[in-house]
């Protein structure tokens, strides 16, 4: 093509002008207004050096959800910091939180609705409009609903908290499906069930601010925790400023173990033996808390005296000598004794526990034993102990008044008899249950903040099932990133990053005073991404059952403007400007169980006393049809009896006690569990060996997985600043185990379990106990974009100058390929830490 001459220009100009005037279809002007020369004129130069604008919001990279602030410069989010006015976070966030910006500007982000173009999983996609996407999805959803089968729409989420949980919950209820899945059983659901069986509502707050001694079983609280920043910084302060001793039992020298006063190595899954032996020593030394025993249930008899209870516990624990525990756990008997006595004497003291201890076959009773250790020493709900959190009470819109009765497919609780009380469900079995088909199959399987392929064990089977169009006719993925599961979807709806959406939030504060906070967008959603909460409002509208609010912002606004306290402080406007609020007059909440129930409450219609448990309950709130039926069935065995719980009779008094949640336990702190006894499990916390470990050969090792401080479980490797620091995870083996196998650091090795084999490299190290191989579980992605896997997402751009400077090409391995999906028989918790493997040179 030649140079354009003035003459050529004239012709082109005239022709172009004709198009512009004739067509008149320049409907999509980007600019409005008119040019004002006065405003331009001489001073016409873009200003520079604007100040960064501060916006308060909340993190979401992990479930801790710290309140934070961000700085926006010229429309671009440049920096995240902790919220200095938060009583939870005290102005801090962690590395993962600070790297959240990388997710917002991830060059591999999904920015448009995408429809599968080739075969499922082939990686071919077509960009479609939102209208097309919602017309298609809405049409399918409406058809199911109109046909009377809303339950064939399954919604499976990884994280929904605060207002997200409410809004999407309202949508699902209004739609009429109860077919839901979550992710708790691959996290720590087993711990929660064990708590529900002992003290009611799940979650334990660790009161490091007031404690004098810390015992840790399997928590890496200084690197990762469901309440990481609020707890871990208080832990550091307690240790350094007040000289508090911390002893960590772990199979691995985690950062937490490394910073503890003492690391005590323990064999995998044998924490329970140590804890039971400690309880025995404390009881025998008479160091138990007699006053707290009043609230403990230790025998079948609800009216047992303290002496009877003490005797029963002592009798049960007699078998668990420290010498016995030493053989099983590898922890020296003398150490067990000395730490037990130190702990019991250092009141208040706190015992903490997490997945290292509970993601095992015997995890339910390990957590119950930990609860026992805290209870017998009186370190429950007291300042400095293991405390039930103070929840907050957001008010929010309830959604449409006339909701249909929900129908559901029973897909979320595993196969019949797999677990006795899966109160947090068995989501790692969901795909297997769908494949089996006996409980039905969803026509639409939608997942949100979740990656069924990667986050569960048995990756290959997950892929095979999700890929099979006969089993899974229609897969819908809500995500901002192209991960391994998105690759197997039929429709991807682009969610924004959490830095672009609205929420109110409510996570636990270690201060025992509830904190209220919101998440607000720093920038408007990039591309065509749309907050899923707004999308459900739209879908509901399209299907003819509007939710009563049109956007998440509106929902959050109404909540802020109606919640007592926040309303008076200035409601939504206050929260937008300040981000956090707590009642300045509130007192920390402790000893809630000691509160007496008012006599009036016992006289209400329907309230009866259950003689077998000493529980006052209102049978009308249960499924019982008459008082006679309620009395005959009794509190423990009547469905939903816990909903009518009023109080616990202890002697002549009635206390609020430890209110049940999830299961029909009494108001006692139940060391003796009638519910477990009914299901033929030991009623008192009991040591149970792990079947696979009993049969191990001399060269077998136990596979342990763990988290490092700079990655979230499965959703952070697209954060370039994190993955730059951590993109390889060699298998860690102690020399005592590696030497007989002839394995040295850097050797290529195979790690083989009963279901498969992975190849990786070995790191022979003194950081782990002999007998295990430790592989972290963040890496080994085969999608999730270039920083995570080297693979570009199909719809990605190159909009990041750092792409040119990425210097790593190793992406680590994912251990879940060889970990079976296998539940704890009591609570359904995935047994992450039980897999027996053989390690050989590759």
């Amino acid at each position: 093509m030649q140079k354009i001459t003035r003459r050529g220009l004239m012709k082109l100009g005239i022709a172009s002008g004709a198009i512009l005037t004739t067509g008149g279809m320049f409907k999509t002007n980007a600019l409005a207004g008119s040019i004002k020369l006065e405003a331009g004129g001489k001073d016409f130069s873009p200003a520079t050096g604007t100040e960064r604008k501060m916006i308060p919001s909340a993190c979401w990279n992990c479930v801790t959800r710290d309140a934070m602030i961000g700085f926006v410069e010229d429309g671009r989010l440049v920096k995240l910091e902790g919220q200095p006015n938060s009583i939870r976070g005290l102005g801090k966030i962690c590395a993962k939180g600070a790297a959240g910006i990388n997710q917002l500007y991830d060059p591999d982000r999904v920015l448009y609705p995408m429809k599968r173009a080739g075969k499922r999983g082939e990686g071919k996609w077509k960009r479609i409009s939102w209208d097309e996407a919602l017309t298609e999805l809405g049409g399918r959803l409406k058809k199911l609903r109109d046909e009377g089968h809303p339950e064939k729409f399954m919604f499976h989420y990884g994280r929904m908290k605060g207002s997200s949980s409410k809004i999407v919950g309202i949508f699902l209820d209004a739609y009429g499906t109860g077919t839901k899945g979550n992710h708790t059983s691959i996290c720590e659901g087993g711990k929660w069930t064990a708590q529900e069986l002992t003290w009611g509502k799940h979650y334990d707050n660790w009161d490091f601010d007031n404690t004098k001694y810390i015992l840790n079983f399997g928590s890496n609280v200084l690197s990762a925790h469901t309440n990481h920043i609020p707890t871990s910084q208080r832990l550091v302060s307690a240790m350094v400023e007040r000289g508090v001793k911390m002893v960590t039992f772990d199979v691995r020298l985690s950062n937490t173990a490394a910073r503890s006063t003492e690391w005590v190595p323990v064999k995998p899954g044998q924490d329970g033996a140590v804890v039971l032996a400690m309880c025995r020593e404390i009881m025998n030394a008479g160091l138990y808390d007699k006053d707290f025993f009043k609230f403990i249930k230790a025998t079948e008899n609800p009216d047992a005296t303290t002496d009877e209870k003490v005797a029963a516990i002592k009798a049960h624990l007699a078998q668990y000598t420290p010498e016995w525990a030493e053989k099983i756990s590898g922890v020296p008997a003398a150490k067990i004794k000395s730490i037990a006595l130190e702990f019991a004497k250092a009141k208040p003291a706190v015992v903490i526990s997490y997945r290292g201890a509970v993601a095992h076959y015997n995890g339910n009773d390990t957590e119950r034993a930990v609860q026992m250790l805290a209870a017998i020493t009186g370190n429950i709900d007291n300042p400095g102990g293991r405390v039930r959190p103070a929840g907050n009470k957001w008010k929010s819109p309830k959604g449409p008044e006339n909701k249909p009765k929900s129908k559901k497919l029973n897909l979320a609780d595993g196969f019949k008899g797999q677990a006795a009380y899966p109160t947090h469900h068995i989501n790692h079995q969901i795909l297997k249950v769908i494949k089996d088909g006996k409980a039905g199959r969803p026509d639409i399987y939608m997942w949100y903040c979740y990656t069924p392929v990667y986050a569960n064990g048995e990756c290959q089977e997950n892929i095979d099932i999700l890929k099979d169009e006969n089993l899974m006719p229609y897969n819908v993925c809500i995500n901002a990133y192209y991960d391994e599961s998105a690759a197997l979807a039929d429709l991807i709806l682009p969610n924004p990053s959490y830095l672009e959406w609205w929420d109110w939030e409510d996570h636990v504060s270690p201060k025992q005073i509830p904190e209220y906070y919101i998440r607000q967008p720093f920038v408007k959603p990039l591309g065509e991404s749309r907050d899923f909460k707004d999308v459900v409002c739209d879908l509901a509208e399209r299907m003819g059952f509007p939710l009563g609010f049109k956007t998440a912002e509106e929902f959050v606004k109404v909540s802020c403007d109606t919640t007592p306290g926040i309303k008076e402080a200035g409601g939504f406007e206050y929260m937008k400007a300040n981000g956090v609020w707590h009642d300045p007059k509130a007192k920390p909440k402790y000893f809630g169980y000691k509160k007496e129930v008012k006599a009036d409450a016992l006289k209400e219609e329907g309230v009866i006393l259950d003689e077998a448990t000493g529980v006052y309950w209102n049978w009308k709130k249960s499924t019982a049809k008459s008082e006679a039926e309620a009395k005959e069935m009794g509190y423990t065995k009547t469905k939903n009896a816990l909903k009518g719980y009023v109080g616990q009779k202890i002697g002549d008094m009635v206390y609020e006690g430890f209110k049940p949640d999830g299961v029909n336990k009494s108001g006692y702190f139940e060391l003796f569990s009638e519910l477990l006894k009914i299901k033929n499990f030991p009623a008192l916390p009991t040591y149970v060996p792990i079947p696979e470990h009993e049969k191990m050969g001399p060269k077998d090792l136990v596979l342990t997985t763990y988290k490092v401080s700079v990655q979230i479980h499965s959703r952070s490797t697209n954060c370039k600043w994190l993955t730059e620091m951590y993109h390889d995870n060699p298998a860690k083996i102690n020399p005592i185990s590696a030497n007989p196998l002839g394995i040295k650091t850097g050797d290529a090795i195979k790690v083989k379990s009963q279901i498969g084999e992975i190849k990786t490299t070995a790191e022979v190290t003194e950081e782990v106990i002999p007998g295990i191989v430790a592989i972290s579980h963040h890496l080994g992605h085969w999608e999730y974009g270039r920083y995570a896997s080297g693979n570009k997402a199909p719809m990605a751009g190159d909009d990041d100058p750092d792409l040119k400077h990425k210097w790593w090409d190793s992406y680590g391995v994912h251990p879940n390929w060889i970990i079976p999906n296998s539940p704890d028989p009591i609570n359904g918790q995935q047994r992450w830490m039980d897999t027996v493997v053989q390690v050989t040179k590759a």
Binding site: V78, P84, S86, I87, A95, S223, V236, A577, V710, K806
Partner: protein, 285 residues
Amino acid sequence: MSEKVDVTRRKMVKTAGMVAAGVAAAGLIPAVKASAAGEKAPRWVMVFDLRRCIGCRACTVACKAEYDVPLGAWNTVVNEEVVGKYPNTKKPFLPIRCNHCEGNEADNVPPCVKNCPEYPKERQKFETPDGKTIRYRDGATYKRPDGLILIKNEYCTGCGKCIEACPYGARAFNKRIKSGKDTSKNGITKCSSCQHRIDQGVAPACVNICQGRARIFGDLNDPDSEVSKLAKEFELIKNRDKSTLLPAEKTVPMNFYVDPDNALNTKMARKKYEKMASYSCKVNG
């Protein structure tokens, strides 16, 4: 408290919207007090309290964000090393950043500045908190009277001699910027102690984010500052050999370590590094 610092500090507090009393102060450096000598500049130092470092690397990420440091370069990292035999294994953490060295006793010029061909350049004035003026020379890399070792990219030729001169590997090329004088070469990235923040009375980004409060930043010339108190309590100045990195290099570092577990006696601490990337930020977990 001098008027000037007070004003900028107040301004910054307002800017950040952290008006609520008490907690708000957490992110701020105590205002600089004029010392008795009057003409003294503050002497900014960092104390790393290793009892408090939990190896979380939030400092590293905060710094990446503050400066948009490109991949392949860092201004601060946390090193770690596994020491001892199982079951008595230990894992000390060692945070690293530019030591903002005083320079050896002969000329008070640290090696990076000494080796910079574009130093000294123009005369500059530094105003102390009480309004006195101290004169100094700037350069492509230079030392400000308050002890900060800074870079002026407009003088920089991208020769890389400062990188070679630093025994701590605190400097690296920034592959996303060009050096001011030679656009065929890259400019330098290094820790500036967040000069732009501290000049406004706000703590450096790494200090702000550190949940363990292991990084304590302040004025050593102010006897009431936290760093001065720590220096006194742990005899950090007196025992430089045990409280600073590579004392044999005689660079007189101004980063001090409170180190009850002898992390400075590990291999990682006794080694010389070529650049920040040599630390490789090894994360064990």
